[in-house]
Symmetry: C2
């Protein structure tokens, strides 16, 4: 789309160099020029190139620079550095930059931000630094931000913007438009205005397109929507995002426990929340914690060690099942060769079912009405795939070891393990969810342990019984 | 938030029963009442309860009903059934309902929809049925929808809404507002208006809040933004979503190859795209294709069989590595017991690294600037975890088999496999991406095959060499 910009529009940012290459990454040429300017301390060039860019572009550049150049860039930009860019970078990069700036400069920059961006930056700081910066802010600004920061982490109150337009119900459309034309303290952008009573209790909302298509003399109360899904400030951001998605909202009023309007939650923050949640689910299922790409070795080890330790424990459990059959294996080495195949197929089939289940639970598509049907379906899939792969493995193993009976034994174990895998893949996440645990975090270890243990036990057990060893 | 609705606002939908229970699922009581009304063919009750609900609520009810009741409900609602609800349900449910309705009724209902919703429903139908429905639509409506349907699947042109407000640059704010007050054909809702030349080439856009805060006599061209990231209609929806996210857009102009305005893409469609993409990534990493929860056994088997077949092949590859060492195993059965632990730890560590890498590639956080740093980090994590778990497994295995030398051998294999796992976990997705393949689909099989093969080979190989068997 960027080449369309160039063709169609006389871009006011014509002096700006192209920042992205064709893959959408920050281009090497651009980064070279910035690096050279930083080396030569050429603030004028840096201000020209970085001063008026969109915050996400500045964020991309910051993430592409090494830590020393990053701090130099921010220092050279001085007051022209748009602190909003810090909402677009990893936590590690953000803290790195914040810690390199004097608190006075941060306070000045913070007071120019929308309150939601300011809170996003402040909430990650340690208590002392945050208090120091807040103390340097003008009184009203400090109160405003403190109120947001008092709400729990990841709540709607933390993500909301405290700047909004609210009018009384008896105003006319004309009065409302005149008010907006005169007031210099409007939010940077907004898509609806709220209607409140004298105590600021929320009465309703009006979308801007509704105002524009209504005659001046019409009263606001006659065009306001009363059901506008107000969000409780204490509500978790993930649940707030679900309300936005379900009702296709662009923005929603945030109210305190007395029903008083305290802020507005906008769709752009909600898009970030949706991303974070998808990220979290993917990472949890992969056995990595709240890790970010900019984390160093120590943080990465910390986020992964626990999971591997649990896996070591369950691996010993599976190994001890093998240990039960050491005599059988010593008499028929082919068992040792084939046993990982049965376990691995079960693990993969179980992971497939579990992936579908965990995702459906996260998106609330799986509930008590369809759970029985999905369990039946998974049983069907498990049995079908079990028999199909039993035939394949029976032929392959029978030929390999020139032992048709061994083929039959491994086939029987395959059917059992694929069926167990399907059941474990759906029942374990459902039970974990019911028990109040996050199925994305813990399902995988339970499912693969089950398929390993059952895989080894069924195969080695049936072989021991059949061959009477 | 729903209890806030009740407390604060005099809900115009007071006659409506509460649809959701506390978990946010459709409540059993509500569903019972609907089911009973369907049985008694009580259209009046169903119209009252389902006629004015939000489309997503109707969609949730449809998904909770069994197929027969679902079709009866739609039949009983007749013209009061809001076809938009079909954009909120799984493809299988959607086709099920569409196929139960006569094409005349679909055509009538389609012409009342926003064009993006109409296209969403039409695009999944088979060609013949779609053409038949289109032929029954009024001319302008048919042209409008055909134009969207001519754009490639999953393109911005398919997702756009063809209803929008466009004005010439020389109009004043006052003229624009008057035009909106008079025109009855405005879109259902909109958050910006576009500025076009007489040939409909896009010149710029103005947000509604900008119009409301500007005096009537001001010309539109003086307040329009020129850089508004127009989206090429042929652009893939995923890339369009990335533009929205990067620049926090609420809506964006969609232009054809001549720069002419053909539609508008709105954030609510983009939110759906973001969800679909996250869904796809999660499912691909879990080895399930484009599967939906409503798929039956046959579709589910089809989406999973291929992946399991590949896994069967790679499992035989790993097994053949074990087969190389059958003599060593027959002389020391403990090797068969311990070998899955080494392979399993490698598999999990590799999956961790791969998860972080695949996700970072999907969100474009990983690029040529930080790849070297991340590879170094993963090497560090692999070595650290390798040595840490080597010590643990050396002690555990040494004690279990009362053989400290065996502990040493398994420890050495653990260090090697954990390091290989880390490298495979990052290099394989990077290489696949470079080769133009989707790393989310194919990384997992390559990574776990690598860790299985290296795990078995290093452990059994070192043991054979050390114990000289």
């Amino acid at each position: 789309m960027s080449h369309l910009d160039d063709e169609l529009l006389t871009d006011p940012r014509d002096a700006l160099l192209e920042i992205y290459n064709e893959e959408g990454d920050v281009s090497a040429e651009f980064l070279d020029q910035i690096d050279r300017a930083i080396e030569q301390e050429d603030s004028a060039f840096l201000r020209e190139q970085m001063g008026n860019r969109h915050e996400s572009e500045i964020g991309d550049v910051l993430e592409s620079l090494d830590p020393t150049s990053r701090q130099s860039l921010v220092r050279l930009l001085g007051a022209d550095f748009d602190l909003t860019a810090l909402t677009e970078v990893d936590e590690a990069v953000r803290l790195d930059i914040i810690n390199s700036l004097p608190n006075e400069q941060i306070a000045t920059a913070i007071s120019a931000l929308d309150s939601d961006d300011a809170v996003y930056i402040l909430e990650d700081l340690d208590d002392e630094e945050r208090e120091d910066i807040l103390a340097k802010l003008p009184f009203t600004e400090r109160i405003r931000l403190s109120r947001s920061l008092d709400y729990p982490e990841s709540s709607a109150g933390r993500r909301m913007q405290t700047e909004f337009v609210a009018v009384p119900p008896y105003w006319t459309v004309g009065q409302t438009i005149d008010y907006m034309r005169e007031d210099d303290n409007l939010p940077h952008s907004f898509s609806q205005i709220f209607v409140v009573d004298p105590t600021f209790r929320l009465l309703g909302a009006v979308d801007l397109d509704q105002i524009l298509r209504t005659k001046r003399q019409t009263k606001i109360e006659t065009i306001m929507r009363e059901t506008n899904h107000p969000i409780d400030a204490e509500l978790d951001q993930e649940e707030a995002a679900q309300v936005f998605e379900q009702y296709d909202l662009l923005s929603a009023a945030v109210v305190d426990s007395n029903g008083r309007l305290v802020g507005v939650l906008t769709i752009d923050d909600v898009v970030d929340v949706i991303h974070e949640e998808a990220d979290e689910d993917i990472k949890r299922m992969g056995g990595v914690g709240d890790e970010e790409l900019s984390d160093n070795v120590v943080s990465a080890v910390r986020s992964r060690f626990g999971w591997l330790l649990i896996n070591l424990g369950t691996a010993f459990l599976s190994a001890s099942v093998i240990g039960l059959f050491d005599e059988s294996i010593s008499k028929m080495i082919a068992l040792a060769v084939l046993m990982p195949i049965v376990a691995s197929m079960g693990g993969n089939a179980g992971t497939q079912t579990m992936t579908v289940t965990v995702r459906a639970l996260a998106t609330r598509d799986l509930d008590i009405y369809n759970a029985a049907r999905i369990i039946r379906r998974e049983a069907g899939v498990g049995l079908f795939n079990g028999f199909a792969f039993a035939i394949l493995i029976a032929i392959a193993a029978g030929l390999w070891f020139n032992n048709p009976q061994l083929g039959g034994v491994v086939a029987a174990a395959m059917v059992i393990n694929m069926f167990v895998a399907a059941m474990a893949g759906i029942l374990i996440p459902l039970l974990l969810q019911r028990a109040g645990a996050d199925p994305a975090i813990s399902s995988s270890v339970f499912v693969t342990t089950t398929t390993d243990v059952i895989g080894f036990f069924s195969f080695l057990g049936i072989a021991t019984w059949w061959f009477n060893i």
